[in-house]
């Protein structure tokens, strides 16, 4: 029973690197900074790491490149590639390997210089034979197709999408490490240059640099480190498609499956979540995930986000670092969901701190609404 993973592991170190922009620095260099900061946070050194969990759009065999670069000889490694959700997904093999004793200190890490190095999405993706002839802009057109269908089916409005972008920006304005911190209004989002209707450029995530790293250990050791432990209470993944044309109902993602399974493992409900970090590569994502994870009913996401509901002071704190829309998005954003949740649960989030946060939900997305991974993290009080 998956319930025996509940609280079995904890995050004891977290760090960012190269965020949000690091001109002149490469992906492994940015990743190394994040790893150094996470290990310092945990009071450990690279010599202590014996498990590596990583993914990359820059390196074909990322676990090998990462381990060699850092001088680690891992006893266990995994670099399952499911796009941006990968790093949330890595919580599961990391927990399994730690529990099985295949490793004792697990490092989940990522680094990318796609912002300053490429200026657009860096991808090793293969051509999709039956979609490519129609030249969808990858990945935005796939998300636009979902948004258009959601608007048709449920009356969701572009104004609702814009609410998501504005709320993210308001959180970013409280985060000194966020990339986009200028004032942003609904009108600006609505009047922005269209990229793939109904999505404008301000419905799309940033293109930045950045890296992140997390250190995980078995729960019985978790209190031996300098920082308050953040426990992995539940995690689950689901994926139904690779190409958007293969998702049966494009208004329903596999988060509708990963969410309930993660909640079941954690023994929690959406109402127990104090802060939610939802993979907002595009504004429609946040609305889809609020619905699919059970924060509101299917089709109610547009209404749910209105009137600043996700912004500071709103009904549910969502994407408190500013999200992929306003904080950073170096190609794959998953690890940043976890790092922000750790900071919130430790009470270290500064001006954007959600008071008394004990339970955080992180939801990772990858591909074109393809891979979905939900994780529930909590403080010792939530165990």
């Amino acid at each position: 029973m998956s319930r025996n993973l509940r609280g079995a592991t904890a995050i004891v170190g977290a760090g960012l690197g190269g965020a949000p922009m690091a001109p002149g620095r490469g992906a492994l260099e940015i990743q190394a900074e994040a790893v150094y900061r996470a290990l310092s946070d945990a009071g450990l050194s690279v010599r202590d790491v014996d498990g590596i969990f990583t993914g990359s759009s820059h390196h074909f065999m990322p676990a090998l490149s990462t381990a060699e670069y850092l001088g680690i000889h891992p006893r266990f490694s995994d670099s399952t590639m499911i796009g941006g959700a990968s790093f949330v997904g890595h919580l599961l093999p990391a927990a399994l390997a730690l529990r099985a004793g295949l490793c004792d200190v697990a490092l989940i890490c990522y680094g990318s210089n796609q912002g300053s190095g490429f200026g657009k999405l860096k991808s090793m993706s293969e051509t999709q034979t039956y979609e490519a002839p129609y030249e969808p802009r990858y990945p935005v057109s796939s998300y636009a197709l979902a948004a258009a269908r959601h608007m048709h089916a449920y009356g969701t409005r572009r104004e609702d999408l814009a609410e998501v972008a504005v709320a993210a920006r308001k959180w970013a304005q409280l985060n000194p490490e966020a990339y986009a911190r200028d004032d942003l209004t609904l009108e600006q989002v609505l009047n922005a240059r269209m990229v793939s209707d109904p999505l404008s450029v301000l419905d799309c995530c940033l293109v930045t640099d950045g890296g992140g790293a997390l250190i995980l250990v078995r729960a019985e050791r978790a209190r031996d480190f300098p920082q308050p432990p953040v426990y992995v209470l539940g995690a689950a993944m689901a994926h139904w498609h690779r190409q958007i044309s293969a998702l049966p109902d494009i208004t329903v993602t596999a988060a509708a499956e990963s969410g309930p399974r993660a909640f079941a493992m954690a023994g929690l409900r959406p109402a127990d979540v104090d802060v939610a970090e939802l993979y907002d590569a595009f504004t429609i994502n946040t609305i889809l995930f609020l619905e699919d994870l059970g924060f509101c009913g299917k089709g109610e996401g547009g209404a749910f986000v209105r009137d600043g509901a996700l912004a500071p002071g709103g009904r549910l704190p969502v994407n408190t670092n500013g999200g992929g829309l306003s904080c950073c998005h170096p190609g794959m954003y998953g690890i940043f969901l976890l790092i922000e949740a750790v900071r919130q649960l430790r009470g270290q989030a500064g001006a954007r701190q959600v008071a008394g946060a004990e339970v955080a939900l992180c939801h990772g997305n990858g591909g074109v609404l393809s891979s979905q991974v939900t994780a529930l993290l909590g403080t010792a009080a939530a165990l």
């Binding site: 039956y130 129609y134 057109s141 979902a146 990229v195 793939s196 958007i244």
Partner: protein, 135 residues
Amino acid sequence: MEQPAHPAFAGPGPDAEFAAALAQGRFRIQRCGACRRHVFYPRVLCPHCGAAGLGWVDAEGSGTLYSFTIVRRKAEHGGDYNVALVDLDEGPRLMSRVDGLVPEQLKIGMRLASRVIDTPRGKLLVFVQALEGTR
């Protein structure tokens, strides 16, 4: 132990067979001999039931617009164009394009008919608005 021969695993694969038919102007899709459901894109195994017995049928060519997006492109690069998801009447969904209409005329739920057209890169399956009265 030697595995017995199976026609599903011999000769050119379904991708090549689809492409060969398209090159002759034909739009073909697969149908599973076991569960009788239609399949697109072409596969070796039925994604509904796992059987290795997919045969080819001519698509009816009729469908419904499930969703669409207008991809914005500078005029000097050819201007805006649409990308559509079309539900075939047989069941499968595919990505395509709706030709002959301006963006304001595209409506989710509208009836469409397939065409195989010539492009500089070869034959391409697209859709046009179906005539009144077609299913």
